[in-house]
Assembly symmetry: D3
Homo-oligomer: 333 residues x 6
């Protein structure tokens, strides 16, 4: 079956030619022909930095494409720390990541032994090729651009290998980065508002543009401080909603309910025009964007707010579905 040119997003390994540290990044790869790849290096990221070192040494870049592995392999590869990432990945998996010498360069370049498929390729530092337009995490198509090209040198794979890929702009894509960003925001907010309980980057906001933050408020003014903190801790974050501890930040509906019943937009809404955002947001003006946040927390004084409806535990435990539904319906619940 000839697929024609297509896009794929494997874990791409590249080794720092000076320090020997290996960087792993999920990168968009355009398969221009069965042996020709165009790799989407993003300036300002580590991979690109290493690429420049090879270029300075006038050498081609050995790259490894790992397709299909343990989920923790992918999460671990998304840390943005300047470390030897295969070691980090091991930490996420819970045991050292098994590696093996590459077919092409032997022990000079190691490849992940448990990957379903491993592609070894050699990238030119001088040739750029047009990459087809592609989907971005914002769920829009990006613009065509010229990126470095590579020649496939070897392909190894497991018996009955499955092909695990990322669907650009869909949930599997946007969710990959979310845990790292959530952890980063949580730490930043924690340092100024110790009562922060959780941060969620919902899929509805493409896991990058919206942040929901749950706090146990102990001072008026904390919610606005949380908003400012979240808006500046990651340049993607554009809108922030802060809620109380009784609101589930992993549920859009509950967060929206808090906005509906606990915010007054003349006082509880912050807008900061002219901040630095991401140029992938089509509503932004280049990287300049208006950011904002909504304080959807109750006032501190409990006497000023009614109590939320809750069915008492005693009632809930007394109700048994089997008293009401036939057994074949119950099985589907």
């Amino acid at each position: 079956m000839d697929l024609g040119p297509y896009l794929t997003s494997p874990s791409v390994w590249i080794k720092d030619p000076e320090t020997g540290m290996t960087n792993c990044a999920i990168l968009r790869v355009y398969v221009a022909s069965p042996t020709r790849l165009v790799v989407s290096f993003v300036p300002t990221r580590h991979t690109h930095h290493y690429f420049q070192k090879y270029k300075a040494q006038q050498r081609n870049v050995p790259i490894i494409l790992a397709i299909g592995h343990h989920p923790a392999f992918y999460i671990g590869a998304q840390t943005k720390l300047l470390v030897d990432e295969p070691a980090i990945i091991g930490g996420f998996i819970g045991e050292p990541l098994e590696v093996t010498p590459s077919e092409t360069w032997g022990k000079e370049i190691m490849v992940p032994a448990q990957a379903e498929i491993v592609v070894e390729a050699e990238m030119s530092t001088s040739e750029l090729e047009i990459e087809a337009p592609f989907g971005e995490y914002t769920r829009y198509y990006g613009r065509q651009a010229r990126k470095p090209a590579a020649e496939v040198k070897a392909i190894t794979r497991r018996r009955d290998a499955f092909y695990l890929d990322v669907m650009p702009g869909h949930a599997d894509h946007v969710l990959l980065d979310a845990p790292m960003v959530e952890a980063h925001l949580f730490n930043r907010i924690k340092s100024v508002v110790p009562g922060v309980l959780g941060v969620h980057m919902p899929v509805s906001g493409t896991a990058r543009l919206h942040a929901y933050v749950q706090i146990r408020k102990s001072n008026d003014g904390e919610a606005k401080t949380v908003i400012a903190t979240a808006l500046c801790s990651d340049y993607h974050v554009k809108h922030v909603i802060v809620v109380d501890e009784d609101v589930d930040i992993f549920d859009d509906e509950q967060v929206l309910w808090a906005v509906a019943t606990r915010s007054q937009w003349d006082k509880d809404l912050v807008v900061i025009p002219g901040m630095m955002g991401t140029s992938l947001d089509p509503s932004a003006n280049g990287v300049v964007t208006a950011k904002g946040g909504i304080d959807a927390t109750k006032p501190l004084d409990p006497g000023r707010f009614p109590q939320r409806i809750r069915i008492p535990e005693a009632v809930m435990s007394r109700v048994k579905l089997e008293d009401y539904l036939p057994s074949d319906m119950l099985r589907q619940v």
Copy 2:
């Protein structure tokens, strides 16, 4: 089984003592004892208006509580037109609503023949009793208040009658009014922005405080006009989000995605402080509330906006789940 005092929300029928027209409303009824009911009449509603007429005539009020009926019976009873509502209900059901003389007052007061349970009671116009605190559509408990009391005169029911009730503040409660409000907003918006395609009052906004409006924009400025129209057409509506025709207004996630990628809050957000809202919104100051809206539509000029990711039909039709999943997993999808 003695439940002790409890709340229920039947369809309550009351007949205009002057015109003979019958009004049906879903009202909270506090069952103080097996034969004593406290009925939550809301001032400014028709039921209350009729109550005043009985009071002026120094007569007790015959009331009918219908529990359990066809869903269209409930939707039909939520129209706010000043008509003989049993006739309207017939329109929704698709055939005339079957009625039968009451046990207590005979043909003077007719009751719905197909209801699961019918309670006939006589309400005093002079005695008020404390109603227990209860859940409101906002999902908070309201305040205790004194309401009129009634004595049960007769109870009739179908064999194996089921007891259909509304759970205050839960989806079945908040959704009852939504279709009528959506239709009303749609008509109002249609008269100023003919390109309106749909209005949805999402459960996340308690089906009353948030409105999502979908338009096919033909002029800049239409979205802001939609916002103002929705905010003033029903006093409950507090926040409005306007989206393009490609965004599904019945899906919070899609609406939030439009807010994330198609709005700039320094230009696309409207806040009007000091409008008349509902005192059940705990963030409001009495009935005074700040209302707002977000224009999450793209600019009219298509060249200024990237294309949304869509998997081509041809690709989707080529993919067959059975090629990928074992048959027992497929059955659960």
Copy 3:
């Protein structure tokens, strides 16, 4: 006397070629020569709609120009309902409008029998001619445009007929539509703020851009709701001023006095940028305009506001002008 080309604004009758209903509209007509007319059809209006039907049937359009009639004839012709308008006009006059067969088309096209002058003409659906620049209701000259041309077929008139015309941009012009808009706004506002007492579209605001609304306030927040309602109920309305029942909305001076003494612009003024307005407003950006409103009502609590000066009735009735002024001065008062 040869006037040369000139503009006139008669009541123009055109019959729906399919339904037979007749539409009457006051339209600008450019008299290019004694037998050649250029008629200013506005897209989106009924007349234009009928025109398209004739065009589809490849027929010329018979049109009637009625010049000079009872004032109620003009008011009645301004309704925007999709009905047989001569019948409506009769309602305004108080008796059926008398019609008579046309000279050109006989009973196929009827003409108003009591009109001072009736011009019968046949309009081409293919020829467009330049219409001279003309005055708009905003009191500015509009731009030249190409409009359909018609040939005069017959002119009939009463003995000693007078020629009643509308002066573009002057009070007689701007006031023609006002009653219909006032009624429409009144109904819209009434449905959300029952205490509305009156709506006036003052000549000072060209009878379209400004609306004065008088309410008997029963809730704080009603004035802001009135403002939003008026701004979106008609796309022309740009500025709204809301006053109490003691302020005469037909008197600019009283409304301005309310603005002076009953509004604080940091709280009582609403501005909504980016709404859809009219492109005839020269300050607008195409059809996009900033709209606004001023709440010039007193606070609800009467104790918070001083009493307005009023000369007691007893004093007024005691004062007789003839005790103070000579009789010849009195006659001129």
Copy 4:
């Protein structure tokens, strides 16, 4: 005829006991009985300042009430310069103001010889009496307060004297100060925007709270500078509207037309909360008030704005009313 207690507003003369300069002010006088007056001295005004000097000398205050005189007498008395005001008044009348020794104090205190009525009274510096509530220039009743009382010593009057009084809160009252304020604002604005053509304090704004300013604009930004200047040059001025030279500032209707067609409130409206205003404005918070202004001028670039409708002079001169109206109707025009 016994009027009972009443209010009157004569020109009250009081002489500086140290410098001998006489101050004239139109003051509210409460006629508690035929021989007892309560005089409304305003702190911070000259009259009050002199009063304090008499008090320090433990002397009663001789005061003169002049009722009825040439209109220029009243305008002249409204200057707020620290001069011998009878001399100023002469400047306005066009000839020296004729004075004559008082009945009570002889040449020590002179009185206006041409006044219709002159009342001489002696005011205590220690006794305060309740003044009845009264109308203010804002057209509301003020609060009761305690003011100094005086005993009538003598009344002289012309034969057939007429009694000229000011009706508090009506046009004759509010207009008295207007020319002085208009001149002051004009001079202030002239010093920063030389193209100012006129300033009017309209009766609609109680001749104090609203200012209309006409300018011939030569730089963008001048209108906003005019607004700021007018708002701070007199503490009463609350709202300012700036118009072009083709708009008549003495006609509310024309100014409102400029607001309707030449202002966009998101850009052309200025609001400054928290300025010092007058406590007589019932919407203010004590003396603290939000002030504002509207730039209703066209953009400088004439190409960006349509031309205003004007009937050509040639046409106007050709039209003769007598060609259209019967002679008896013409007389009433």
Copy 5:
């Protein structure tokens, strides 16, 4: 020593050819060659006005450049009154300014006798030459422009004359105008807020763009009124900070401390976009600029604010530096 072309800023005298009054202004002069000068006349200033008169008479303009004189000579020359300025200068020096006939035109043109250097030159009214780019008071270079040229006719100087010049954009330059502007602002503010104590145009704000105003507040709202007054009294003034009487307006640090501890920017900050400023402000859009002010005064009610730290006089007087420091360190303090 040949300096090549250079800029200098002498006091330039020019005599009104009609009235004979002499105007003195510190003007930038470009010394194109030892005998050729290019003089920077600013339109709208008096010198330019006189220049036009000579041009109308088709005469060359005699000009005097005075270099080096008593400091009061310079201050006096900065008044902007339309008077014979040498006379004014005498007032500042404290004795009549000594003048003497010029070498070139004798008694027709007098020159300052005590100037260190006097250059007499004749300016063409028809020739313009490029002036080199130069530093402005804003501390930026301005744009090149064409200005009138003059031929040197004579140079006279004192024995051992020193050459006093102004360094464009440095403190000696920006401070020259400050006293006159401060006095003007002080008077303007005094007329609306009598409690004003001082006005300072700090060097940090180029002595023109920033104004610090010290007031003894007696009414809430006065600070905002001061801001509006300062912003419109001189078109250069862009930002105003108002402080209490305990804050030294001649010390940036104290004013900033007041901003830090006595202002809340949501209430105490005023921004007025779109005012007329100076085109030399590089952040402005031509002459249009946003101006603003900060009310950094305490609330009137002393109970609402803590007391400022002050070391008691008794303590200060008890501390003697000589008890703590050795005598040679003391000498340097």
Copy 6:
């Protein structure tokens, strides 16, 4: 000499009774009598935390007051890390901090050997005493409060010991914390805007409320991101000014010059009401405060901004003061 009760601010050492780590903090100590101290423990700080542990163990707290030491001793003691602080201090001094057993508790509690004076005291965990009112870093007096009391057990000192103290509210006081806050802000900003060059907490803003940030801008929008970051990274920071690399942030005058000539407050100023600040700011409402920032950077595009005046190096080096000033004046420069 009897000083009576007085305040002093030594370095107070307290040892964690569980971990043995020692915390050093500069605390206000009220010397109630020669042997009785009242120590100002701040809740939420480490010292207070240890205090609670002693209290739980029902033991008195041994405390050490060190008066007079190397400046690095003080800077080092201001870190807010949870470590054994004497070790940290050694890092700042550049060699291990020399300690010696205490007089009272021997090796159980070590004291700084090189301190000028060491006071050993035992603090009750149950007795609280009124502390006199005192000066805060904001330069206002704080409120009286009740704090724990301690009994002096021993005092040791160096021969000719000097007494080094901090003057509350004066520069030596406010500057102590500044380096740590500056470093913290710098790191936070660096992580989002890599081009940050420096952060300064000026004395004018009490070294806590104002932050000046210098950046080399590489994207529009960075300055606003810097503002948000600084405002939320430390809860004291209230106002932030961002400047370009050519502006010296250690010089108020230069920063104010940048505000004057590089900011437009309608676009470049951010205000966020309702954030969490410090209750020591007397303008705040408890801990709730409005924060703000000014972007005083030039636009990125150099062509849009004029060049700053600079005297060329060549000129500066050519100028020798000794050519202009007599030698005795030169010595004082």
